[in-house]
Symmetry: C2
Subunit: 381 residues, 2 copies
Amino acid sequence: MAPFLDHVDDEETTSNKSRVTVIGSGNWGSVAAKLIASNTLKLPSFHEEVKMWVFEETLPSGEKLSAVVNETNENVKYLPGIKLGKNVVADPDLEHAVRDSDMLVFVTPHQFMEGICKTIVGKIRKDAQAISLVKGMEVKKDGPCMVSAIISEKLGINCCVLMGANIANEIAEEKFSEATVGYRENKKTAEKWVQLFNTPFFSVSPVQDVEGVELCGTLKNVVAIAAGFVDGLEMGNNTKAAIMRIGLIEMKAFSKLLFGSVKDNTFFESCGVADLITTCLGGRNRKCAEAFVKNDGKKSFDELEAEMLQGQKLQGVLTAKEVYEVLSDRGWLELFPLFATVHEICVGRLPPTAIVKNIVHTSPAPFIMELCSTPPNEAIM
Amino acid sequence: MAPFLDHVDDEETTSNKSRVTVIGSGNWGSVAAKLIASNTLKLPSFHEEVKMWVFEETLPSGEKLSAVVNETNENVKYLPGIKLGKNVVADPDLEHAVRDSDMLVFVTPHQFMEGICKTIVGKIRKDAQAISLVKGMEVKKDGPCMVSAIISEKLGINCCVLMGANIANEIAEEKFSEATVGYRENKKTAEKWVQLFNTPFFSVSPVQDVEGVELCGTLKNVVAIAAGFVDGLEMGNNTKAAIMRIGLIEMKAFSKLLFGSVKDNTFFESCGVADLITTCLGGRNRKCAEAFVKNDGKKSFDELEAEMLQGQKLQGVLTAKEVYEVLSDRGWLELFPLFATVHEICVGRLPPTAIVKNIVHTSPAPFIMELCSTPPNEAIM
């Protein structure tokens, strides 16, 4: 076959293939890249290569992180010991990493999202689709804004979300997990994301409820802080279960008050009750909150994060602050004693024992329980 | 004051006071007696004395259990190290223990319930009220029968239920817990039970849904067996959370299929998601199921129960069998892969790894998810 024809064939075949960039290379970002790379190798509708934007760091050895990732096929800092797949290419240049891709996977600490959007706006493909794995929200003058909404607004593209019971290291070891994709209208787009992430050990389901899925992923970190306080106080499993139950009710009520479109069933998906459980059992927010109590509050969360998380970020404390601002702004503080108390403990205004004392006999308010039981919206999966 | 008048006064005052008997003196029964006794000492509407029927056993020392309980004020076999309260009186004679009481608290392994009812029928007060803390169901020719229904039917009295995130030893240590009282119609009766059990560290809420509350308490033991298998296989928290999530969905769907009156919100009470969590973290069903896997199925659950539980009974394996009979009888086996698989593993027809393999991509069925999201009944707490 003549080289020319060969080339044309190749162009034709590849022109419809999607190109994926993972924006972020922390613990979860690296695992997401690995999952995706295992699928792009097999599925004909995707380019094999997966770009992964690496926020460049100089390692203690003096080498650059991105160079080491490409040499060893491992993220030696955030996911050591796990091969990412040879088709994962680390790129420290954000603009370069995103410019050819039509599928953008956002997975960074949420405080970096505004800056990332500013850098890439106008420099991405017009037909690009986004998915956010980012937990957290921004509280602005006119109310809370979810990360998926920030991406959609700043970049002018559609944005789904993926959340679930996903302790990253367990997925890296290919232990069975589930996850939920939240989408707005276009089910076909959701199905493409499901195709990209789904593996025999990572079972992904789509749900038409972006805000519900995203708020589950975000708010569970606040409940995990509460659960960590209970662990630090050595109050046992009954108390911890009570706190998680009340936390789940506040998550649901808060989500439904903010967005009337949020569906009841979302809380029974992996992003809901399952993610809450796994995060309250093993996550980093729980762990740092436990340490906060064990150190009698003498070490701040900033110090604990620096000591315990090897460069990873703690979302729960920040989210608790943002949620507190919303509650305070709207006069809802008394309706959400658990959320409010977590923040008050984090900033040292209340002792950790308040996590039980403040919610007993006051939470959940009848209004909140009733809100939880309103009929689900008409469109059920 | 003349002795006669004194006597009359005393009669008048006490005639309206309720007398309580706890039927059962295992781990949970002893804790229940302790909770109740702390309240009857304080509340004027109850006689101080709490009778506790003890299934008589001879201890290794040659002494009778009931005599030792009364001498030491401790249940040395099932709750060692905890004082029950001086107003708890152990009685090995069942008929004698119940005959004067108008409040009967049933808390024995459920396989003993039929025999107990046979013994006391016609020998209790006509105005007696019952509450069941018993987990399990009987499967009869014409369908499953809950323990509260057996009590009501056999004894001709009203029966409430109390369930919740209640690992007994933690309550004995006065660590904070919650519980749920399920009642049928008479809210005043429910409130009297709440009064009897509620303490500053044991927060009880009433819900008008006997079957929902009772099925939560019963079915969660089957899910705990599944969670124990996952622990034994060392599959991690994501998998465990996924199994617990699917278990919760099957609990809800099964309950609603059996009883149309079951309410959605019941699953957000302590008896629902909270009890599921605490039982899957620390309960005896989870523990024995983990050991079953670690021993490669070479030890039966009967052997593990004898070895590990010091005379306590394992409810989950029995309930799994009963649930399997219902599923099989009604042609629902495929709708409830988790419940069905737990039983198949328990009896050795499937390997423990089936707990994940059999439910991935098959559970929960769309029908089951939809069933979970039907609007709650009109009467919301």
